[in-house]
Symmetry: C2
Subunit: 460 residues, 2 copies
Amino acid sequence: MSEVKIPYKIYLSENEIPTAWYNLRADMKNKPAPLLNPGTGQPLTAEEMSGIFCEELVKQELDNDTAYYPIPQEIQDFYKMYRPSPLVRAYCLEEKLGTPAKIYYKFEGNNTSGSHKLNSAAAQAYYAKQQGLKGVTTETGAGQWGTALSMACSYYNLDCKVFMVKISYEQKPFRREVMRTYGASVTPSPSTETAVGKKILAEHPGTTGSLGCAISEAVEVAVSNPGYRYVLGSVLNQVLLHQSVIGLEAKAALDKYGVKPDIIIGCAGGGSNLGGLIAPFMGEKLRGEADYRIIAVEPASCPSFTRGKFAYDFCDTGMICPLAKMYTLGSGFIPSPNHAGGLRFHGMSTILSQLYHDGYMEARAVEQTSVFEAAEIFARVEGILPAPESSHAIKAAIDEALKCKETGEEKTILFGLTGTGYFDLMAYQQFNDGTMTDYIPTDEDLAKGFAGLPQVPGQD
Amino acid sequence: MSEVKIPYKIYLSENEIPTAWYNLRADMKNKPAPLLNPGTGQPLTAEEMSGIFCEELVKQELDNDTAYYPIPQEIQDFYKMYRPSPLVRAYCLEEKLGTPAKIYYKFEGNNTSGSHKLNSAAAQAYYAKQQGLKGVTTETGAGQWGTALSMACSYYNLDCKVFMVKISYEQKPFRREVMRTYGASVTPSPSTETAVGKKILAEHPGTTGSLGCAISEAVEVAVSNPGYRYVLGSVLNQVLLHQSVIGLEAKAALDKYGVKPDIIIGCAGGGSNLGGLIAPFMGEKLRGEADYRIIAVEPASCPSFTRGKFAYDFCDTGMICPLAKMYTLGSGFIPSPNHAGGLRFHGMSTILSQLYHDGYMEARAVEQTSVFEAAEIFARVEGILPAPESSHAIKAAIDEALKCKETGEEKTILFGLTGTGYFDLMAYQQFNDGTMTDYIPTDEDLAKGFAGLPQVPGQD
């Protein structure tokens, strides 16, 4: 460690924002398994994908070889609105914990969408515009991804149609209003605007909707309207590619001060934040240039890595999307309603799944009351109210720092603080009121999800 | 203008954060009029004030002469958590408007309290702790100030008791939960915890509360509990002193690139943001070293500067606080319920009132639908959802930039973007739904407020 005093917040200068994304797949010996056409069981072709996704994004999705993708100038300009994001030395947290560990976090919440999702939304909207499309469709649950996409579409002057799970549309009006302020049309799902929506409404008149249904509606509108494509905020290879900007910036900032992390921690839902944060570090590890402990943290109520199966599965509960080989709880698995902490996806990025399968990273599951306890400790000393998702990483970082306190080791810990909790205050209220509970699915609960795994050639 | 390309965001380094606040009063020839004891009509003494405020803050409140107050190291450390705040060159807004004007804004919303209020909360909480007090009390309406104070008290380990106007407590639970997460106790006002609260509840059993009542409760608890003092988030001289950090940072960042603003614009409610932003620039103007056009922007529905009287008045609607000489609409004036844009205070900082009276600044009033139109334009191109209060400054900045477009003048405009609108989405919803209306008080409405002005010696 140099004698230089490391600032509380390390900001790179504008011309140090990465100008190329890093494609982790290029350095993987075992490439992630290809997406399969659910009808044929065969790898999805570029042609099949191009009806749903933009052409450039299809190329990025399928490219396991190119290590660096130059970031188009227009996206670099967009990034300059909110990047570089700060890398923060958590001096106050270290002092509070009394740990000899050195804790850093990369904070992606300093933009109006409130999270890292904007990094990929900007890219996906730009390529849609570049292709001459009129607009894009997507689904959103609580609204984080929808907000990010609305902002990007507004900037590139692209129509944005968001299907928002009806219960969130009604109970969480604030994100909806942010999207509307950015000019997006927001439709509660299921709706009467699609065949699939009408069918579901006829069968279940009182339904409050689901993410699976919203995906189905968004895809239907995209494929049946000329000039529209569907976009997705996590899981996909292209999304991890865009999110590599997080890790590249974090590494550049650490390199500037000669700091090398021992442990890198990220929360894991679909994997976009974790995959982005670890990208350049994992690259070094894959090439044998450096070693890092890399820890994925997931909720005990939705434990894809720690209790899931590595198998081909649908990405959506509606079973209309391609099959991906990933750690999964089964597309029919739905976390208990008392789970307030996000990260609800039943599966996981195929890239991260392969890396985990090959032993390049660890995973652990944590219970939500302990996550909110960590969030509260963090908020009070670091002055940032974290998103529940991000707080999974905080929990693991605190645990590792407290281990250092026991052993006296001065380890350097880097974690991803993906976003702010301004739109998650109902969950904080539960925690403040002492009414928050934990849930761990039983083996029987998981067996039901696994029973729905599709039969495809080569499936274990 | 130098050839250097100015970045989108100018971040000072950590060691460039100001280490002293600037006391604008030191350079004023006509000092702001002293606060008066409402009982005696005589200037309030330090002894009288010290039962309500901390000793150091009383000193700062009364000191018209000391130009610079060193910022204690503990407050500098707190500032490092979220400062320096970015000075942003609004390239995207300039392009959208097609103006030759160069627009800069100082963004104070990148902290969990969401606004500049934290700058003074940190100082006030620190001095209370320093004096060995147990805690502080305050009132809050929508919750911006209460949130900031909760964060500061949590950091300095000080008890924080917030009386929150009952209707906001019930209808705006999110800010309440942020305060609770930071360990504050939040009581809906009127409450049964104070004599004044009980009295009001007995007289008006169904009341939803008012800021005036909440102030009365907070002051009562402070003066009747040993080890407690009352703190206030705007209007006072001490608050403007602390907020000078905004202007000092903005000026340092501009100086770094050799940029000199022609026009400086800030929204004005109680005056803390505007007073802080303009401080060092106004200092130069008062000393005859430079000239700037300085514009205060207020809502047409609460037009203290543009239609108020320069007179002694109560600072609270409950008429228990000292009298201040300021531009006021009368302490009984309450903006129409359809006013959603904040800046509801009937009066104005005595410092700014004196400067306005002496011709050192301009003021203009704008209607709220035009303010939200400006907010939407700004949000879509600059990627930040602004607070309604801040959007008053945006509206005026856009208007000035459009004048430059007409005349071809390349003026440099600096405005204060005081905070984010994440907790103001009910107002945005009104705007998005097209149900927002404007309100301009009639002369008769104003006459009612003026009729309540107190009789004191020297009052016009």
